[in-house]
Assembly symmetry: C2
Homo-oligomer: 261 residues x 2
Amino acid sequence: MKVISWNVNGIRSVFKKGFMRWLNTQDADVICLQETRAQRDQIRSELARIADKGWFVHLVAAEKKGYSGVAMLSRKDPDSIWTSLDSDELDREGRLQVARFGDLTIANGYFPNGSGKNRDHSRIPYKFRFYEALFDKLEPQRASGERVLVVGDYNTAPTEIDLARPKSNRKTSGFTHAECDHLNAILNKGWTDVFRAQHPNETGHYSWWSNRPGVREKNVGWRIDLTLASSGLLPDVQSGFILPNVMGSDHCPIGVTIDAS
Amino acid sequence: MKVISWNVNGIRSVFKKGFMRWLNTQDADVICLQETRAQRDQIRSELARIADKGWFVHLVAAEKKGYSGVAMLSRKDPDSIWTSLDSDELDREGRLQVARFGDLTIANGYFPNGSGKNRDHSRIPYKFRFYEALFDKLEPQRASGERVLVVGDYNTAPTEIDLARPKSNRKTSGFTHAECDHLNAILNKGWTDVFRAQHPNETGHYSWWSNRPGVREKNVGWRIDLTLASSGLLPDVQSGFILPNVMGSDHCPIGVTIDAS
DNA sequence: CTTTTCATG
DNA sequence: CATGCAAAG
């Protein structure tokens, strides 16, 4: 079973750049998209084209137009989906959907960017509240050994080898000590960053690049899109992968293959 | 002597579409531009390229970025220029410059659009105040027989033959009875719409087309860019013209040739 | 630099 | 539909 995650930075944008062509070559079972930046009424035709190819599509949109949003495409319709963290504040931005496929739970999260208005760090507290609310909510399932996968754009690079310029980015949101500590605390509670577990020391593997000219060509990137596997799922994980050559967004797709249950 | 007027809908936009190429083929003495939508610091290089070709350039910008603004290009530097209607309200939007070249006065006006926020008519009163302030200010010169030309985007079509769809636009700002009456009252005071005076009954001559697809191809337009000549200038007017094939804006250039004094 | 919205035309 | 801006990333 293959699960892909991709921050598309505007689903309408990637549609213009051949999203359907890419989608039609994928043998994934579930595709989680982040930063879709569209409400349902704005992408009726796009959703229809996806559905026409046999995908079930579940969309979650932010209240604010053109902002945030996630979508899950799956070959089978999930048995159930929930999207609320029981917080008006955290639920307003369309950042989460958690689907159940048999005994496998897949969470698709677009974790908040910590940068605020003046490029300050004012949104880091919100980001932390989002991390905590989601992983607290999943903790019972993880602790009881259930198979849970949490994919998405975490907006945090876990360690120095997960970005090309760690030294110069210690004050950049996404690699502050506070954010790294927060993410690593989650990992230490029993979640495994699948790609890193399989490539413990490899550098140069990123999932996001600034779209300033030349940056992606020089591979000056960050690995902030992750698949975290619960302790119970870990034995079934086959491989974590990154698809850095897929263009269309400032992020590339990442993913994981797991044994079917 | 040739004077051209053109609402360029963004001087930066027409620059990308070959404005300099067009300019270099013009034998005009004065070119009046409206809706330049730029402050001086935003178009330093564009202004330099114009000056390099031997034009004197005078710019008036709105306080609000990206909004309104006029510019006058001339082969000779004007003897004097004034830009204020002695009204904070009317002066804030960079809609006017009045230049003197010997005994000829040329006013370049970007008369306000009457449409307000909700596509209502809330800006019509402002538009009327602008018309009145300018023509009141020019009245002594006109009355004393001076040579005065007032060119620009009047945002009003004078009569039914000045737009392709008069019937369906009686409630559209730019062709309401109030606006037409206001403009015609000015004409009756001793200003001549040069193009119409020379082509009294000709239809199909327009200077603006909605940029919705096909509209310009079908010539469904409005003649809202005018050159008005004072009573004293009228005997020296040779011809009024429209250049509907010049592309780059939703307006085309218009103009007039007059005897040198 | 990019996507999307908004105000304005 | 198009320009230029702003917010956000």
